[in-house]
Symmetry: C2
Subunit: 384 residues, 2 copies
């Protein structure tokens, strides 16, 4: 794993004018990566801890800010906050977190949000559906569709990413809330992936729908703080990435009813250096597809299937906070991870989200006080 595989050019020195694209002004940095030169353009700045971005059907962007704001960005203009959001608990790692557009958003204007919310017992992870008003100024029909089973003190490890399955149902990641034993309690949503219909009801194929062993929304357990969750359009499988402790970040393919081991098994140690659990493997507990040690602090995951970067087809792209990088995980024909390229390390800040735009460009947001929305496109598409 090469720690720094990118180096940065001033755009003018790199002769960027030769790479003119059709839509965006030719601003931004041209960077050389292992297989391709990319341009990184700032589409917006001044965002306060942006957590998630999605592309609207007309090409605009919708972005969450963790303090509890949702904004739309078009043509470099950032809208005022949208009204009517649910009240969030913006403390510690919590606040407004993910946004996901329903597959029929262009008709229904329906979207999903996750947030840390508060009760008199503390806070927890909650998910909402809502519709965006025609003038884009407010949310309407806001309704909770998932509220984690137990709210507790402390403001860390909420998980909170949403993946929409091909059938329109929702997979939502829930962190262990800093209380690791909850990840092994099957009557607790903490440290799990939950699976819900779009209206919050329980899907017929959930593993514990008719069982008292576990809460009916639970799909898989034994996760620590999963903040990346996505489907690969090529194999239709669900993949997650989760934060470990000191070491032990993991990529998993969560299957129904399975236990991914935290904190009984882990490839990490406590931040104190103390050993956690029983080791790295145990009968009945699943192994990760990949782990990082030291941790990179993965905030999001997408499997690249765009047209813009054929070199990256099938690669897992992971946004990382700690080392402020994108990790590009390459796989062999059997699906095993073979190599990692670390891109943009330290160049742009703590990358919280990464997605693939319809044109195959990457979009990412940096979780900073003055956070940015960035677009990563191919620099040499016309210069060969």
């Amino acid at each position: 794993m090469d720690a720094i595989s990118t180096f940065r050019f001033a755009a003018l020195l790199a002769g960027a004018a030769a790479f003119a694209g059709p839509v965006l002004a030719q601003t931004g940095d041209v960077l050389r990566t292992q297989e391709v030169s990319v341009r990184v353009q700032k589409l917006a700045d001044g965002l306060e801890h942006p957590w998630a971005v999605e592309v609207l059907p007309d090409g605009g962007y919708i972005v969450t800010e963790r303090p509890g704001r949702l904004r739309i960005i078009r043509d470099g203009k950032v809208s005022d906050p949208i009204d009517g959001l649910p009240k969030v608990s913006a403390r510690g790692q919590g606040g407004l977190m993910d946004v996901a557009l329903a597959p029929d958003f262009a008709i229904s204007r329906k979207l999903y949000l996750t947030a840390a919310t508060a009760s008199d017992r503390g806070s927890g992870t909650e998910a909402f559906s809502a519709t965006l008003s025609p003038d884009e100024k407010s949310l309407e029909n806001v309704a909770p569709i998932f509220t984690m089973q137990r709210f507790t003190r402390g403001n860390i490890q909420y998980g909170s990413r949403i993946a929409i399955a091909p059938d329109g149902s929702l997979f939502i990641s829930v962190g262990d809330r800093g209380d690791r034993n909850r990840s092994q309690d099957w009557r607790d949503d903490a440290g799990s992936i939950v699976h819900l219909n779009a209206d919050g009801s329980i899907p017929a194929d959930n593993p514990f729908k008719n069982s008292s062993k576990a809460l009916p929304e639970i799909w898989s357990k034994g996760h620590r703080n999963p903040q990346g969750i996505t489907f690969d359009s090529a194999d239709g499988k669900l993949y997650t990435v989760e934060h470990g402790a000191k070491g032990g970040d993991e990529i998993n393919n969560p299957e129904p009813g399975k236990n991914y081991g935290w904190p009984v098994i882990t490839y990490g140690r406590d931040y104190s250096g103390a050993k956690i659990g029983e080791g790295t493997a145990k009968e009945g507990l699943e192994q990760p597809l990949h782990y990082w040690d030291p941790s990179i602090a993965p905030g999001a995951l997408v499997v690249y299937r765009g047209k813009m970067f054929p070199e990256w087809n099938g690669n897992f792209i992971v946004a990382a906070l700690k080392f402020q990088l994108l990790s590009r995980m390459q796989r062999d024909a059997s699906g095993g991870f073979t190599a990692e390229e670390r891109m943009f390390e330290g160049d742009y800040g703590r990358i919280r989200d990464v997605i693939v735009a319809p044109d195959g460009a990457l979009l990412m947001v940096t979780d900073e006080n003055d956070g940015e929305l960035l677009r990563v496109s191919r620099a040499e598409s016309r210069a060969g």
Copy 2:
């Protein structure tokens, strides 16, 4: 089937300024269709019988003109013709026809073309691979990858659309060249769908790879003049649309080694009114999924899976020359066609090609002396 389901507004009267999009100036017509209002914008005109359009990785367009020219369109500017094209036979219905970009075009710059070409025995359908030079001014490495088995006199019914399979192999449609009995000759490429590897070699799964019954490139026979061929990304199946005679245009799902009946069975009649063949059904010959009578003259087919028009998800969109329309074929859960909406009838001219752009908009070209490249996008995405 309602003959005219669209009606046209002047853009200003429809208050088009309220629907501002991020990229394109707010020009064009706003038209009401059954389920959604659409905007039709002219991206380019002055094209001479454009036959096919594809979207480049950076958002530009590449367009064929039947007389034998290939051009790139960006920001409303039409490039000079690209040099180095193969010599085509631009007579009758023939000339330069389809263009398709290799899945890894962004790296390889490889594309495929089809054309009518000439020999001393007449003309026939041929396909080429080539690479686009870095400056986009010329084709390099032009190589024939398919030349139909028998060239003959006459300049009609070449077929000539390309579909690229998920594995990168090529399906190419070949017309009967106006000599209907060729469609039942398994040692003749006329009236067939052929299947080739990207380099023109024969795929291992071809039905007659090791058989003397048929030419090894043949996938299916009994087609008349198929000019639409596409994969549905949802079911991974191959679909074609073909021109019948007077009546008898068909949608088929060509399966390996099967015979789709022309001219033994057909739902059409000769242009003279005379009966063709033995009727509409016969043992051993496949039925179409759908037929049109009277004919619409279908020039292209795409199965809509974009995000911009969720109302159209899974619909078959067919470009039609004769009635100058787009046909939107709706299907039920079992895949049967349930209804047809005819859009833009007579509004823009003979529509030769239709594709879905990465953002879910439709792109189409009109096969006219002063042909146009048009974009169909959602008009009310922000006005509800």
